[in-house]
């Protein structure tokens, strides 16, 4: 048993070297496949990050009237908090608003002088409301509008709602990102299927050239597993080598676009690649091994029938 295993291993390695041309073409095609698979993973991650980034910037700002009492605002906050769509509410008091305003415009004398001339704090307190999903803002907005409609017109609590101004842009952006994600997903599925089929056929062709040898092996009394073993090992080796090459090809690309992705999507692809390298490695090399193994087993099976 052990001798057979040792022999199968040896035959696999020797076959890999002696049929170098076949091995190289099979590996080349698999590198392309795995590169596509890897790119799918990266682009998908980027688009997901971009969508999350946009969505995290979406919120409703409710500006309170200058005269509003803090206790009334807190009451409103409690009511809003009870809504199932609301994920988070950040309260900014008038003092907080003034502080961040002066910090931001410290260097700008005109503005600072204007502020002094007014004498008192002109800024309003605000509630910044964040929902779980972008689609839920509509509901929160309607709720706030109803709330405002019931208020005393002489002494209102809510001064302004900013959501209607951003709404259209946010909806459009969400739709665009969704469409891009769907399109890229479909395009990549097609690409992956095409490359898998090409790999499959390349390995089958490679084994087709050895069909006479397989018949000879059967004639000298080799069992099916003894014949199949070396081909399976070669399939696995194609997968491992191709996976490593594909990763090595992706690395410089990801290093060079890392900073741009940070700027553009707010997501550093290089950091992701480095931190999640073990997973990415396992997925790519694993799919390579599975692809090589399935291709060679199914190809050999045709010539093992008696």
């Amino acid at each position: 048993m052990l001798t057979s295993f040792k022999r199968v291993m040896k035959a696999g390695f020797v076959g890999f070297w002696r049929n170098a041309f076949v091995s190289i073409s099979a590996i080349f095609v698999m590198v392309v496949t795995l590169f596509v698979v890897g790119s799918v993973m990266m682009v998908d991650k980027l688009l997901g990050a971009a969508l999350e980034n946009v969505q995290s910037q979406v919120d409703i700002n409710v500006y309170m009237a200058v005269e509003a009492e803090e206790s009334d605002i807190m009451q409103l906050k409690t009511i809003l908090q009870a809504l199932p769509e609301v994920r988070e509410i950040v309260y900014t008091s008038r003092e907080d608003a003034l502080q961040s305003f002066t910090e931001r415009y410290r260097g700008d004398e005109t503005i600072m002088r204007g502020l002094e001339e007014i004498g008192e704090n002109p800024l309003r307190a605000s509630l910044s409301i964040r929902a779980f999903q972008t689609g839920q803002y509509q509901g929160i907005d309607s709720f706030l509008r109803e709330q405002r409609a019931t208020e005393d017109l002489q002494n209102p609590l809510i001064d302004e709602l900013n959501f209607p101004r951003n709404q259209e842009a946010i909806d459009r952006l969400t739709a665009i990102i969704g469409a891009v994600e769907n399109f890229s997903f479909v395009a990549m599925i097609v690409l992956v299927i095409a490359s898998v089929l090409i790999t499959f056929n390349t390995i089958r062709l490679a084994i087709y050239t050895t069909r006479d040898e397989i018949s000879v092996m059967r004639l000298v009394g080799a069992s099916n597993s003894f014949i199949r073993g070396p081909f399976m090992l070669q399939g696995i080796m194609y997968g491992v080598v191709a996976g490593v090459i594909a990763l090595a090809m992706m690395y410089p690309i990801i290093v060079s676009i890392g900073p741009q992705t940070e700027m553009f999507f707010g997501f550093n692809l290089y950091n992701y690649f480095v931190n999640d390298f073990v997973n990415i490695f396992l997925i790519l090399v694993g799919s390579g091994v599975a692809l090589g193994l399935v291709s060679s087993v199914s190809a050999v099976a045709r010539y093992l029938k008696v």
Partner: protein, 227 residues
Amino acid sequence: MIYFDKVSKHYNNRNSIAIEDVTFQVAPREFVSIVGHSGAGKTTLLKMLIAEDRPTAGQVFFESLDVHQIPRTKLPKYRRKIGTVFQDFKLLSHKTAFENIAFAMEANGRSDEEIEENVPQALALVDLEPKAWNFPWELSGGEKQRVAIARAIVNQPDIIIADEPTGNLDPIATYEVVQILKKINDLGTTVIMTTHNKGVIDELGRRVITMDEGRIVRDDVEGTYSL
């Protein structure tokens, strides 16, 4: 030892007959030549024996074993009892002469020590020790056939089947190959050979079965080539 009992083989329909109602037996240590025109059914007969092909009717026995009742998983083990030699050699092109012979032993599950010991012996028997590490494309036709014979005998099979072993060889190589087969037979292995070559048959002076259109037409104990 080998017994063909009323064996027939038809392809597709009854009009295409490969062999028809063939009955004969081969005793241990015999050297049997099967002669006949192309298409007389010689190769089909050998394929039946190694279970590469099934008869339409009749049975083939190897000792007490009905060859075509052997389950598929047991076939490799059965085939190891039979050494095969072909007109086109059927060597593994990416293996050296030594490795080709060793492969038959590896497939048989023999140990590395046995391989190291037996392969050189087999090479010596066919007089090819200096070419042990040459690949098939570096060998002449006669040398390739001698490697194939060494591979066939290395597992000490009960029987050697040679299908037109001299078909691709020049007269000198033909003579050498037949001498080797004779030597193997003298050492106690049964040999069944098909051939077209009149010179070979007449020189051997052993049992000859003559086939024509799928039937046995003559079976002579010390036959000559006559069609």
